[in-house]
């Protein structure tokens, strides 16, 4: 189990690195898909099969397809480099480093690695999630459905030719 996790983690980190290092969007997209899938693997190890599959179906299967689709449509090739954002160029690296250090210290401070207490694996079956979703979270659920509807309309309007 643990080994599997570390493998997945390594894959995810490397793929993420690739995402931001590649200069061609398609490669970034592909490596992002890899990240997603390895995260799905992590979810599996966390005992959440349903969420893992959802992650693959929706994220990898739908959202990223959309990305790839757009990349093909706009035939986005090798990106052009410009250096207009001084702010980002000078402050970017130190800021990134700073926040990484800060967050990691927080984690190390708050959740010591020795803490091994793990509650009994909870029932993450689709049924359980369904119950929670349609009992306690029914209102947010409805709201999200509305959000999606609006998003669809917005996408259609935005992508229309005469715009």
């Amino acid at each position: 189990m643990a080994i599997l996790f570390y493998i997945c983690a390594a894959v995810a980190v490397l793929a993420a690195l690739n995402v931001i290092l590649q200069r061609t969007p398609v490669y970034s997209a592909l490596s992002l898909i890899v990240v997603l899938c390895s995260l799905a693997g992590v979810y599996l190890l966390l005992g959440a099969e349903f969420m893992a599959v959802i992650q693959v179906i929706i994220y990898a299967g739908a959202i990223m397809v959309l990305f790839v689709f757009v990349i093909m449509l706009l035939n986005a090739g090798h990106e052009t480099t410009t250096h207009r954002s001084r702010m980002a160029r000078w402050l970017g690296a130190p800021l990134i480093a700073a926040i990484l250090v800060e967050l990691l210290t927080v984690i190390w401070g708050q959740f010591p690695a020795t803490a091994k207490l793990l509650p009994a694996p909870l029932d993450a079956s689709p049924a359980a999630i369904g119950h929670l979703l349609f009992r306690n979270y029914v209102l947010p659920f409805e709201v999200t459905s509305i959000v999606i509807l609006v998003a669809i309309l917005g996408a259609v309007v935005l992508a229309k030719k005469e715009f």
Binding site: M1, F5, Y6, A9, A12, V13, A16, L17, V19, I20, P25, A29, L32, V35, Y43, L45, L46, I54, Q55, I63, L66, F67, V70, L73, L74, E79, T80, T82, R84, A88, I96, I99, L100, L104, I107, F111, A113, A115, K116, L118, P119, P121, L122, D123, A124, I129, L132, L133, Y137, P140, T144, V147, I148, A151, I152, G154, A155, L158, A159, F163
Partner: protein, 102 residues
């Protein structure tokens, strides 16, 4: 068999998040930048999942569920916007979209 401590999950999530943030800053292709956002979202999702597992309640997973759904909506709209931008600017370079200043 050995148990992975919570902190490792969180560390992973943080690393991915920071990578996403870094990508947001260093990349110039708007689609890649957008993907970096997705990357950060996923990092947060991972944190949610880990907490839900270690706190032993399912709500975290539902949060992830909602995040994914919203991310889908966001992707749809965002990509539509990108297409519209491309039509107007004939460019995908994020630094060409600076017509909103001053």
């Amino acid at each position: 068999m050995p148990i992975v401590p919570l902190s490792h999950y969180l560390a992973l999530s943080i690393i991915i998040f920071v990578l996403g943030a870094a990508g947001f800053i260093i990349r110039r292709n708007i689609i890649t930048v957008f993907m970096c956002i997705e990357l950060m979202l996923n990092a947060v999702n991972l944190a949610f999942m880990a907490f839900s597992r270690f706190l032993g309640n399912l709500d975290g997973q539902l949060f992830v569920f909602f995040v994914i759904v919203v991310a889908a909506a966001e992707a749809a709209v965002g990509l539509a916007i990108i297409i519209a931008l491309y039509r107007n600017h004939e460019s995908l370079n994020i630094e060409d979209y600076d017509s909103m200043k001053m």
